[in-house]
Amino acid sequence: MPKVDNSILSKRDQIVSDVEKIVDPKNVLSHIDEIKPYETDALAAYKQVPLMVVLPETVKEVSKILKYCNENKIKVVPRGAGTGLSGGSLPLQDCILLAMGKFNKVLELDFENRCVVTQPCVTNLAITQAVQDKGFYYAPDPSSQIACSIGGNVAENSGGVHSLKYGATTNNLLGIEVVLMDGTITRFGGKAMDAEGYDFLGLMTGSEGLLGVITEVTVKILKTPEVVKAALVGFPTIEDAGNCVAEIIAGGCIPAGMEIMDKALTKATNDYSKAGYPTDAEAMMIVEFDGTEHEVEAYIEKVKKISEKNNSSSLKISKSNEERLKFWAGRKAAFPACGVLAPDYMCMDGSIPRGKLAEVLKEITRLSKKYDLPVANAFHAGDGNLHPLIMFDANNKESLKKCEEFGADILKYCVKVGGALTGEHGVGIEKRELMCEAFNDKDIQQQLTIKVALDPNSLLNPGKVYPILRKCAEEGRVHVHGGKTKFPDIPRF
């Protein structure tokens, strides 16, 4: 992490009293008992207590705090719900942690313009809940949607299982209000689509809190589809499953969601959740369509034919919503099911071209033998997002080290076959040192000059995303011990 500024640590009391002049003193937390809960996000392997925690209530307060910090060279780490998996809101010892938790109101439901204006710490699911009685919903659905904040979704450009058809956050966002490090309050985008000039809305989305603090969000909402149906298909080989996915897509179907699990995961989830998956299949596919009845029927019929052509060993179509949810139950239990199999597991998050699935899984099997650690694979086949779950024992130092090396090897391979280091969890501190696998110095320098343009003193969320040392170290991933995640009650899939 960036070098600790001791002069800031020594001025702590002064800073606390200054900030108490900006916000209501009850919103300034400085006692260790108060700030301890903020020491980590959902990448719980990393912990650091900040200098202090500030909970602003208005955009003016955010602006004043940032301006004060900019003038006094104090680092700031913004935080939403703290459910991020890559350590994006991990505090620094000498930082003010700007916790946005009090920005928790939905501001406007605008059905005429089909959008919702909300404060950033409203949860992703709460947006859908606010509009569902009128038959609308907000499309991006990260698995942590009951707890993750919409501001955090913007900062990380969160996806979900429906990204292929509906896009990630960036494709569903109309506007934001943002405060820059110098205290400037501005708006990018709005209710009118494609605001003119440079697309700062797009730049801010997925910038992991390095360029500005989001204080208001406008998202588009969609009409809830009438019918949703899923097919559960088993295949004798991974290759067959991979070919089937390619053919479905090339055949002109865009499913709402398409998931593949390998045999290890199918077996684990079956034992855990009694999902009733066929255990003889080497690969299981769940493919889901939504829309009007005729539309869904037409696509399901197509998938049936394509699956049979690709040697499917079993095929079930959901006859009711309950059955459809049962198809998903096993898949959604993937993480806890792995928690039962081993003391610990790490969840990786790479993106690969769909057609490379068989090749990548073969490589993962090879690596699994090499490192002598079991692995189970879940794959958002629709959008190419692969989540290998590596099982290990963190109490055994050797095992942890092997697991980390294994994980880094997988991500490097994802990049090698034309994929990406991270599909939806973000870089944060977790994959920072792997950035040089994806980018060369010139690429990274260009990105850093943008950072410098907006935050010349590099005070906003420093140490995240971009490598500090030029090395490709193997760092931590989503590490789960004894089945206990940082937020055990949030689904992760």
Partner: protein, 419 residues
């Protein structure tokens, strides 16, 4: 080495010529490095389909990328195509068509507007301008379909961002930042663009109604319905002559709503839509797939303004503001049509003056929108603000420009003075 290549390798860096036409990325990079060293401003061009959009500016040389063209890789099952920046849209669409795929954001062919005939330009130009067609509200704009790029910044350095996969959150999303930057930040060299299957069929419900207020009600209801339309326009009476289709039972103003997908479902949805909108049998017609495709081609390509001598503004407001916006322009001599379900207003002005422009600008701002001047008399181009920007965003834009193009050699002043 072919004759042309031989000739080119000798001349591409000849700064005595006013137009530089590189055919390789290395040549583009060399030209930019040289221009950076000597501070030579460049106008970046492709097929000249949209070069009239934007402010007039002084560039010593033209960097013509039309020879840097070709498909690098097309993977239909991976839903992307990787192409060189100077590749014509026409060529890309032809190639995609072979696999029944398309660029879902429907790039506008501005050729009709400026020259009366088709010229849909290059992919680099389309992405740089980020103008999306009628499907915008459903599938997004060019910026939503650019998966990755390679380009050369103002110092001559090759940079890249994104990739070929749809889910990628590695580093800042420069694909978005460069889309719509009108070639002022980076010269794009390679683009990976998301492609999507063509719908099995497409039909259009045409409602005969003369009033914009009713049209906006129809459009609002349709776009908020689970029928899930992919286009919504309103053409007032004056456009009647452009739409003489066999399937049309009426003349005059019309509201058009497009429905796409599997044939069965399209027929069912069109039927349901007519019921949801409480339409009587004699109030609407349905365009079959061929006529529907012609209708939307005309719309996306602004063919109703083909070769117009008049001025054209592109106004975008939240759809709730459209009616009030139009009412405030009652006394201005203009014609217009609505796209994007009523949110995009194409305004054709018969007479133009700075006073009228400023008036429209203020009204647009009052209604939370923005406008871009697409076509204007040459002598006005120097004095009018083609794009709108507020001082804070100007300041940020200045910094971003500097971070990519420190000597301001790429299209300097095309968007704003000083940028």
């Amino acid at each position: 080495m072919s004759m042309e290549e031989k000739q080119n390798s000798q001349t591409f860096l000849d700064f005595n010529q006013s137009v530089l036409k590189p055919i390789t990325r290395e040549q583009i990079s060399e030209i930019i490095k040289e221009s950076y060293k000597k501070s030579i401003p460049l106008e970046i061009n492709g097929l000249n389909s949209k070069n009239k959009i934007g402010r007039n500016f002084q560039a010593e040389k033209t960097l013509d990328l039309s020879k840097y063209s070709g498909i690098i890789e097309y993977k239909p099952e991976e839903l992307y195509i990787k192409v060189k920046a100077g590749t014509p849209i026409e060529l890309i669409e032809k190639e995609l068509d072979k696999n029944n795929q398309q660029l879902a954001f429907e790039p506008t062919d501005f050729g009709y507007l400026f020259s009366g005939k088709s010229n849909s330009g290059t992919i680099g130009g389309v992405v740089s301008c980020n103008f999306a067609g009628p499907r915008r509200f459903k599938v997004g704009s060019a910026r939503d379909h650019l998966l990755g790029f390679q380009g050369i910044n103002g110092k001559g350095e090759t940079i890249k961002s994104g990739g070929t996969v749809v889910k990628n959150v590695t580093g800042y999303d420069l694909c978005k930042l460069l889309s719509g930057s009108f070639g002022t930040l980076t010269v794009l060299t390679e683009l990976s663009v998301k492609v999507l299957p063509k719908p099995e069929t497409s039909k259009t419900l045409i409602i005969n109604n003369p009033h914009v207020k009713t049209a906006l009600e129809y459009l609002g209801k349709s776009l908020s319905s689970s029928i899930d339309p992919s286009g919504g326009v309103f053409y007032p009476d004056s456009f009647e002559k452009h739409f003489s289709f066999n399937d049309l039972i009426h003349k005059g103003a019309l509201t058009g709503i497009r429905v796409e997908g599997p044939t069965n479902s399209v027929d069912q949805r069109i039927k349901r839509l007519s019921k949801e909108l409480d339409l009587l049998e004699n109030e609407y017609s349905v365009l079959n797939v061929e006529q529907s495709n012609i209708f939307w081609k005309k719309t996306k390509n602004l063919e109703v303004f083909s070769n117009t001598e008049k001025n054209l503004l592109r106004v975008v407001v939240p759809v709730s503001e459209t009616l009030n916006f139009l009412q405030k322009l009652k006394n201005v001599d203009l014609s217009y049509f609505l796209d994007w379900g009523g949110s995009l207003i194409w305004l054709e002005l018969n007479d133009i003056s700075i006073k009228i422009l400023n008036e429209i600008k203020d009204i647009t701002k009052d209604h939370n929108g923005y406008f871009t001047i697409i076509k204007v008399e040459e002598d006005m181009k120097a004095s009018a603000d083609i794009f709108t920007i507020d001082p804070i965003k100007y300041k940020i834009s200045e910094k971003i420009k500097k971070s990519f193009d420190p000597k301001r050699i790429f299209n300097p002043g095309k968007m704003y003075t000083g940028i």
